[in-house]
Amino acid sequence: MRAAWILIPLLGWGAACSNPDDRITLHVFATSSLTAAFEEMSEAFEASNPDVDVVLNVAASSTLASQIRDGAPVDVFASADQANVDKVIDRVIGEPSVFATNRLQIITEASNPLGIETLNDLADPSVLFVTCDVDVPIGAYTAAVLAKAGVTLSPVSLEENVKGIVAKVTTGEADAGIVFVTDVLAAGSTATGVDIPDDLNVIASYPIARLSNDDEAEAFVRFVTSSDGRAILEQFGFGEA
């Protein structure tokens, strides 16, 4: 009788434990500007693939590339620029494909209290401008835009990723930054965007790459580039590939 008291809970526990082979975990590394879009993307993918769990890791593309280089388990990598995919090209399976584009925009606090209208306005010494280091995609793109416009700025801080810029500006800590239009959109009423003229702007191309042979990885990439995936991206303000 005593044995039964031990066996029954054990069996119950054994039954409750799901067979690990039944559920698949998909590790998706996505750049910061894709935060909201890829959260919805993952939910949609899980909805049509019930046995897949998408684990989303969001950070600056450069941070993600670094983690991948150090051997982090990853199935899919969506970056904001090709440069960071190139850093891990030896782990990429097949060819990366561009799945979305983005443009840059100046971001200020809600209702733009300082009345910033052009890139030149950012050069005013009293304006606290923040950006990212150049190995973060937005940092590189910003440098390119400023070079095109012939404007030199002295940022007061180099944030870790584009969301860091958004945070500093929306809390009023910094006066302005340059981010993606999708980020301004995502910030909603807490921020105001100021357009950058097309001739000075850059088009950011977002490549997506497969880093594992799992079928699910390929399925995910296909989903992102499908019409459903593109609809989600469009909803968040991304441009066509």
Binding site: S66, L128, S157, G172, E173
Partner: protein, 256 residues
């Protein structure tokens, strides 16, 4: 056996670090201007933070140890809270209270034109915030253990309270003060989370060694290794320099 494991636990990471360091690149990295700037900034800010911790921490420790007042435990808990908090949380707290739009920060800006975030002063504030508790706790404990009768003796001999404090109490707790200073300085030097959240990250102004090391890890791991070695060497040098001589018992000083 357990002691051996404990020692290994502390030693092995350093062995690994030394093993992977690209020794041929060391010279290049060390002479890089951004590295020198980060190191100099770290030293300046951590020393200043330690000085503030000492200036404000010793009186606070004395009050906590000797004066009984309502909510004393609460005050002590507050003073040492930043020690148990994750540094980032400390940074967030500083951000929302002393940032430009912070509860107190906005007055700092409006009335005095003083801005803390994105400045070296902000780095010192962040470092002081996280390191002072170490000094307060160490020194308070020493004050408590100090026999107050020595104070009575000094006063009966004609010493004012201040004279007695300076000549009798402080020298007697010198080992604790030194230990507190070292702990506080080490904590300030290694401070990262609160610094990057509150002060920001800009080479030369707010990019201290820990920040530089963390960021280098992404772009240039070899440089990160070298930066780590530099930090370790500097810290080690200070700790070795102190030795038991200073941390030991003042009675044991002998004169010829």
């Amino acid at each position: 056996m357990l002691a051996v494991i404990a020692t290994a636990f502390f030693a092995l990471p350093f062995v690994g670090l030394l093993w992977r360091t690209p020794w041929s690149d060391v010279a290049d990295v060390i002479t890089d201007q951004s590295v020198r700037r980060a190191l100099w900034l770290s030293i300046q800010t951590s020393v200043l933070a330690t000085v503030f911790a000492l200036l404000f921490g010793v009186p606070l420790a004395w009050v906590l140890a000797r004066v009984s007042f309502p909510f004393r435990s609460l005050v002590r808990a507050l003073a040492t809270l930043s020690m148990v908090l994750p540094p980032v949380v400390g940074g967030v707290a500083l951000f929302f209270s002393f940032g430009r739009r912070g509860l107190f920060g906005q007055y700092l800006d409006d009335w005095f034109g003083v801005r803390l975030p994105f400045t070296t002063a902000g780095v010192v504030v962040a470092q002081t915030f996280v390191s002072m508790p170490f000094l307060v706790l160490t020194v308070e404990s020493a004050f408590r253990q100090f026999d107050i009768r020595y104070d009575d003796v000094a006063r009966s001999l004609g010493a004012t309270r201040w004279h007695a404090f300076r000549r009798v109490t402080l020298p007697a707790i010198r080992p604790a003060i030194i230990a507190g200073v070292v702990l506080a300085w080490a904590r300030a030097l290694g401070e990262f989370g609160a610094t990057i959240t509150f002060a920001g990250n800009l080479p030369g102004t707010t990019q201290t060694m820990p920040l530089a090391t963390y960021l280098a890890l992404e772009t240039d791991p070899g440089a990160a290794l070298v930066l780590s070695i530099v930090l370790i060497v500097v810290s080690f040098a200070v700790l070795i320099g102190l030795r038991d001589r200073w941390l030991g018992n003042p009675n044991e000083v002998t004169r010829s």
